[in-house]
Assembly symmetry: C2
Homo-oligomer: 474 residues x 2
Amino acid sequence: MPIDRRTVLKTALAAAFAPLIPKADAADAPGPTLALARWLVKVSYADLPASVRKEGVRTLVNWLGAALGGSSHEAVAHAVAALAPLSGPAQASLVGRKERFDVRTTAFINGIASHVLDYDDTHLKTVIHPSVVICPALLAVAEWKPVKGADFLAAQVFGTEVALRIGNAVYPNHYDVGWHITGTAGVFGAAAGVGRLLGLTEQQMVYALGLAASQPVGLRESFGSMNKSFNPGAAASAGILAALLAANGFDSSPAMIEAKRGWANTVSTKQDYREITEGLGVRYEAALNTYKPFPCGIVLHPPIDAALKLRKAAKVDPAAIERVELKVHPLVLELTGKPAPADGLESKFSVYHAVAVAIVEGAAGLKQFSDRAARDPAVLALRGKVKPAVTPGIHEAQADMTIVMKDGRKFHQFIEHAVGSVEAPLSDAELNAKFTDLADGILPPAQAKKAMDACWNVEKLASAGEIAMAARAA
Amino acid sequence: MPIDRRTVLKTALAAAFAPLIPKADAADAPGPTLALARWLVKVSYADLPASVRKEGVRTLVNWLGAALGGSSHEAVAHAVAALAPLSGPAQASLVGRKERFDVRTTAFINGIASHVLDYDDTHLKTVIHPSVVICPALLAVAEWKPVKGADFLAAQVFGTEVALRIGNAVYPNHYDVGWHITGTAGVFGAAAGVGRLLGLTEQQMVYALGLAASQPVGLRESFGSMNKSFNPGAAASAGILAALLAANGFDSSPAMIEAKRGWANTVSTKQDYREITEGLGVRYEAALNTYKPFPCGIVLHPPIDAALKLRKAAKVDPAAIERVELKVHPLVLELTGKPAPADGLESKFSVYHAVAVAIVEGAAGLKQFSDRAARDPAVLALRGKVKPAVTPGIHEAQADMTIVMKDGRKFHQFIEHAVGSVEAPLSDAELNAKFTDLADGILPPAQAKKAMDACWNVEKLASAGEIAMAARAA
C-alpha cells in the first residue's frame, strides 16, 4: 500500500505520544488470526516444555488405539466403499486396514475410525476431541511427505493448541447453539498442523486459517448416528485442503477469525479473543487433554464411575433394584437423554443405558456399548428404573447417585472428578491396556505392540510415517 | 420400532377423531427434511412445467459461460496445482482446461471457476448463486455415470429448488450474521441433485441431506479474496460426498434440518419451514433465477445501471464531475464499501469503483473489473467523488443517482429494477452474447458455440456428459 500524508502524520504523532500510551495497546497487537499464524511459523519442537511433549505423546497413543478399535466399524466400511472409486494415489494408509488412499481420503476415513467408538480424547473445558481431527490429517501428510517424529509431534501439539484456544474463545455459546465443536474448532488445528508440515510462510498460514474457518463441520443433532464420526473426518480433510491451497498461492481474508463477518461472529454469540492470544506458547491448553476410560459421551463418565463404584462396593443384585436416583447437570440429559437406544451407537448417548449396563455387567467398555448390550433384557429392565434429575449445583463433571433397593436399602455415591479427568487421569499403563484392548482382533498382538511403541517413541522416529506403516493391516 | 400399547391407543384415538381434525395438521405432516427427501425421490422430469424447464436451461447456459470465463483465473490455477497430486482417476473434465480429475476434485475446481468472476446467476430473494454449487457437482457426476440430458436438467432444477427453499427458510438472518449463503444452502442442492443421479432411496436421501447440513461452507468475510470462490467449490464437493456416503449406507439424523440442535437452529435465528414445504412441486423458486449483466457483487447492479444510463444520456465528461450522489440500501455499503480496492477481485466489491468505472468507460464488463481498471488513474480520480448515502426507503434492488457537475448542472437517474433482475431479465440473445464473450480466448469460437448449443439442447442429449466434453480444452 502506498504511504499517504495522513499515514505519515499519524506515525509521527504516534511516535511523539508513545511514552504516554500503555504498552499493551490492543490496537497495536496483532489480531488473533495473525497472532496464531505468526506464532505457528516461529515456534519449534525445542520450545515445548517436557510435560507438554509428554501429554502430546499420550494423546497420540490414545488416538491410534481408538482408531484401530474403530477401523472395523461399519461406518468405516461404508466410507471406504463410497470413496475408494474416487481416491487418488496410495499416499497414505488406513489404520488397521489394508487400503491405502490419497492423503485427504485417508485422513477422512481415519478420522471416522478414531471417533466412531466415542473412545477418544477430550479437552474437558470445551468437550473438543482434538486428536480425531488433527492426528488423521497429520499422519496422512507425514506418510506422504516424510517428516521427523519430533517435528510431527510439535505440529500435533501446536495444531491442538490452536484448535483448543479457538474453542475456548467461543465456548460454551458455540456448543450450546448446536455445533459439534470437535469439527468446527478442530479444522483450524488440522490446517495449522499440516501448514507446519508443509512449511507455510506467515502469510500463507493466515490464509490456511481463513480457508479452515470457511469450513465448519458438524452439528450436535448428528450424535447417535454415523454422521457424528463423519464430522472429525471431514474436518481433517478440510484442514488439509486449507493448508494445501494456501501453500499453492490461494488466498483468503487477513482476519477471518475475528472480522465482523468472519468466523467467531458468525458461529457464536460469545467471542473472547484473549483466550486465543494470551499466554500463547507459555500456557498450553494441549496439556489439559484427557483420555476416555469408557467409549461413550463424556458427560456419562461421572454417572458410570458412580455406578461401577457402587456395584463393586455394595455388590447390588440388579434384579433387586427399585430405582437408581441420579442428580445431574442439564447437559447430561440434553446430550444423553435417549431413554431407549436402539443400537450400540445410540447407547453411547443414553444415560439410562450407561448406568444400567454398568450396574448389570460391572464394566463399561466396548462390549457394554454394542448392539448386543443395547438389546440385553437385563439392561433393558434396569434402564427403565434409572431416574436422572437435573439438579442445581451439580457440575457436569460431577454425579450424585443413590441406588434404592426393593427392600428399602439405599446406597449412595458422589463423584467429584470421574476417572479419566484431569484430576484423575488414566496412567500410562492404563493407556497401554486400553490400546491393547482396542487393537485386539485388528492387528496381531506383536504388531499392535510395535505400533503402540512407535507412538510412545515418536520423538525419536526418523520418519513419523513409521507409525502409519506399523498400524496398517498386513 | 416396536409398537407399544400407548401407540395403539393413540392411533385408535386419532382415527376416531380424524373427521374433526383440520386436514393440514402440522403434527401429522412430515418435517422439512423428510418432506424434501420424499419429494426428491418421487418427482420426475415430466412433472416440470415448461417455463421452469426453460429457466433451468438458461441457468445452465449462463453457468457454463461463467465457468469458461473463470477457468483461466489464477485462483483456478492455484487450486489445480494444489489438488492435482491428490486427484483420483480422470472421471470428469475441468471446464475450459485440459485437466481431468476425479468427480469431487473436478466439481471443486469448476465451482471456483464459475464463481470467481462474480458473473454467475442470482436468486435475488436470498442472494444465493445456485448454479455455481449445483452444476459443477452434477456435471462431474454425469460425466462419470452417464445420465440422459432430461434427467440431468431435472436433477439440476430439483437441486436448485431445494437449495433456494432452504435459503428462504433462514434468510435474511442467516446471511446477515455472516454466512455466504451460496455455499451453506447450495450444499443441500448439490447433495439432492447428485442423490437423484445416484438413485437414492427416500431414507438415503434423508441421510444425504443430513450429511450436507453438516458441512456449511463459507463466510462473508471472504468477499474480495479467492476464498469467496472457494466456497461454492467446496460446497459442490461436499454435496457429492454427502450423496455418495448415503448411497453406500452411511447414516445421519432423520431430521437434520429442523431438529433442535440441527442445521436451521444452529446457523440462523430465523426458521420458517413453510418456505421449504409449502407448494413444493407447484411453485418453483428455481424459476426466479436471474443472470448477471455485470461481473461483480449483485447489489452493485442498480448503481451501475444508473451510471451507464446517465453516461449514455448525458454524455458526461468524467473530468468535469464534481461528485456523484448515490442513495442506497444499507447492504450496498456493508457488502461493497471498499473505498480503495487494490485489484480486480476487490474492485468487484467496491461501489466507488463500480460507479466510477461505469462512468469513465461506459461499460461494466470483465475488463472493467480487472487489475488494470482497478488501477486506472481516471477511475481512481472519480471513485473518490462517489458519495453513497444509506437512505431509508431505498430497497436493495433500487438506486437513486445524481451526478453533480463542476459547472453546477445535475443529472438524475432512478433505477426501480436493474437490468438482469426478474423484472428486466437478460434475453436469450443477451445470454448468448455473454457466453460468447466469456468463452473468448478460452475455446475456439466454433467449439464455444458447440458447448453453448449443448446447454441449450440439454433436454435432448443422450448423455449430459456431452456438455463437459464440449467445454474442455483440446
